[in-house]
Amino acid sequence: MRKTIITAAAAALGLAAPLVQADDGSDLNNDVRLGLYYVHYAASADNITGPYSPPCPPDCLNLRLEDLETPYFAYVRRLSTHFLVEVAGGWPPLTRTVGRGPATLGSVPYNGQVIATARWIAPTALFEYQFFDDTAALRPYFGVGVNYTDFYSRQSTAAGDAVTGGPTSVALPSSWGPAATIGVAYRIAPRWHAYASYNYAYVHSRLTADTAGFIHTTDINFNPRALVISIGYAF
């Protein structure tokens, strides 16, 4: 009776194990993971071009992106002992675009100013290979796949409007590109693992800013590199 109560409580918490399971976890084909993305943008962008841009050189206008952290979640389907498919995403983060170039344009601050913000949703599908077998405490893995990034809530900030000369609409088309990951899984228990991975995705877009009919553009390669620390539960 006591055992039944404990089992029911565990099931209610979502921690219940199958009534029959292998000790090595080899029959657990589904895995959900929660963690944190630490995103570093090694972004590169062409100098901004458009009407009334200052002469470049010397006053070239460019951009950089602020690093950020955001929750990570993924669903992983185990295909075999060594092969997995991961569909990963993150809580849409607020990405801040920062001016890089001259300190001021006239008297308007530019360098270091957050001139635009955007949120993005970026699901990534990865086909992964895990080394060793299911009983190993540490299992390195790597994977390749595809990333789709859609930018939304694109806004020019007050500082951005001051730079561009007025209320500005920002367009940033979505991006498709290859993605890759390399990481290691640590077996805490048959159902619980800790993961650390380093991820890269090719995210490229063309930023277009429209201020009273004046169009300024730049091609941006976002180059996001993300360290992910997560906990996974297999079932």
């Binding site: 009334y52 006239g106 000369g165 007025g166």
Partner: protein, 498 residues
């Protein structure tokens, strides 16, 4: 359906009405606080001279680019652009209700002229933009300055040069658009204080006076005005040029004015060769304003640099119909500055010059043929003269500005003749109450207690310096542009009384 179409047409007409702002809020192209503006101006020799003359900026200046609807010479809908310069800063003269200066710029051959673009020193409007900003906006005046239809992004494929009716509409349309933009700038607390001053230089001097005339006729209030070095008495000016007093830059003005009036009235010529020598005629109609620098047009032979007329002047053999006095008038003048306008290859044919000159002596303009009369020709026959008369500020029934006017210029100006233009208008208005019209000749000897004496002395020092370094030719070439900052500062001083 018909009703719907009518509503749509009415809505479209409203959208395209003169003075409608195309983008509101307008784009700010530059924002310079007072120290930055001082630094920007101080980075060049001419800017340092301007600072010395205009004084250090009290306010910063935001430069907005306005695009608006106006009309062409045939009342066709057109787009145009210009500048709205708004003083910034927390000093009392830089915020709150401020007076507006409506400024008309001088002649330019550069199609890309954009007086709002202070950020680019290679922009052909840069020096005039800096002048207007330093003199007016940096001292608390909101400045509205159209680029004119036909320039910059304008949809009009020609420029209605010296067309008083069109250009005064362009000015008031720019003013209407700027007033609509003001509440939506980065400094909405800076508002139209209700005072309106109208000024401009050279072509802009003419445009400023034509605008005052049009606004006066419409019952609109102009607080005060200051047309500067403008060709107000157009018919007299044209007659003087054709009779041998060829002004500096005449070969630039000629295609601008003939295209303007051909577009407006359609009767200046049947073929360009009716006016122009065959080698130049094919390109004249669409030549100016141009994306090609005018020095390049001179250098590649598209336009003669100075030779408006042939140095083989009409004589009794080639033109037996000419009376001897007219043959003498048409000969190369003894004045060396006017003589520069004769050469080979020349722009305007002798046939056309003779035709114009015969009309000028048969139907004389009083200011040229019988001063101190300022009467326009009663019945000119030459179509160019008719167009010049139509656009002459004296045309129509007598009029006078309702607010004080300062007419400023330099009496030795070889580009726009001060005695013939400003002098004629001064005579035209001689009977008005004292104080309504003020004439300032920056080249005149200062008189006791003259508030403009320091400007006159400074101008004359500048001319003496140019004479010493570049001789009389240098003075002739730069005189007109040298007058501009002195008269502009005089205009500000004049406006500050009201």
């Amino acid at each position: 359906m018909v009703r719907t179409g009518g509503v749509l047409c009415a809505a479209l007409a409203l959208l395209l009405a003169g003075g409608t702002l195309i983008y509101n809020p307008p784009a700010r192209l530059a924002s310079l606080d007072a120290p930055t503006l001082t630094e920007e101006l101080g980075s060049t020799t001419s800017g340092q001279q301007l600072l010395a003359l205009a004084g250090s900026p009290i306010c910063g200046v935001d430069f907005y680019y306005i695009e608006y609807y106006t009309v062409g010479a045939k009342n066709e809908t057109a787009t145009a652009s210009g500048a709205l310069m708004v003083p910034t800063g927390s000093s009392p003269p830089c915020t709150g209700p401020r007076p507006i200066v409506l400024y008309a710029h001088g002649t330019t051959a550069a199609k890309t002229y954009n007086i709002a673009n202070i950020a680019d020193s290679t922009n052909p409007a840069y020096s005039e933009s800096a002048l207007v900003a330093a003199v007016f906006a940096a001292n608390g005046y909101i400045v509205v300055a159209p680029n004119y239809a036909g320039y910059d992004i304008s949809s009009l494929p020609y420029h209605p040069f010296l067309n008083g009716s069109q250009q005064s509409k362009d000015m008031t349309d720019a003013l209407t658009a700027a007033r609509a933009a003001l509440p939506n700038t980065f400094t909405p607390g800076t508002t139209d204080g209700g005072q309106l001053f109208v000024t401009g230089y050279s072509e802009g001097g003419y445009v400023a006076m034509a605008t005052v005339k049009a606004m006066t006729a419409a019952g609109q209030t102009v607080t005060a005005s200051a047309p500067m070095s403008g060709p107000y008495a157009l018919e007299a000016f044209g007659d003087a040029v054709f009779l041998g007093s060829v002004n500096i830059a005449s070969t630039e003005f000629a295609p601008l004015i003939t295209t303007s009036y051909q577009e407006a009235y359609g009767n200046l010529y049947t073929e360009p060769t009716d006016i122009y020598e065959p080698q130049f005629a094919p390109s004249m109609f669409e030549l100016l304003p141009s994306d090609t620098p005018i020095d390049t047009l001179y250098a590649n032979g598209t336009l003669p640099e100075t030779a408006l007329f042939s140095n083989s002047t009409p004589n009794a053999t080639t033109y037996p119909q000419l009376p001897p006095q007219l043959v003498a008038l048409l000969a190369i003048p003894s004045n060396p500055v006017f003589a520069i306008g004769f050469g080979t290859p020349n722009l305007i044919t002798n046939d056309y010059r003779v035709s114009y000159a015969l009309d000028a002596v048969t139907n004389p303009d009083g200011a040229v043929m019988a001063p101190p009369s300022v009467a326009l020709a009663a019945t000119p026959q030459n179509t160019l003269r008719i167009a010049l008369k139509t656009n002459d500020i004296r045309d129509g029934s007598f009029w006078a500005p309702s607010g004080p006017m300062l007419m400023c210029g330099g009496d030795q100006d070889p580009t726009v003749f001060f005695p013939l233009d400003t002098g004629t208008m001064a005579t035209y208005w001689a009977g008005l109450p004292a104080g309504l019209i003020t004439v300032l000749d920056v080249n005149a000897a200062p008189t006791a207690n003259d508030p403009f004496a320091p400007l006159q002395l400074a101008f004359q020092e500048d001319i003496a310096s140019i004479l010493a370094s570049s001789g009389e030719v240098g003075v002739a070439e730069s005189y007109h542009t040298t007058v501009a900052p002195f008269c502009t500062v005089a205009a500000r001083s004049f406006f500050s009384q009201f």
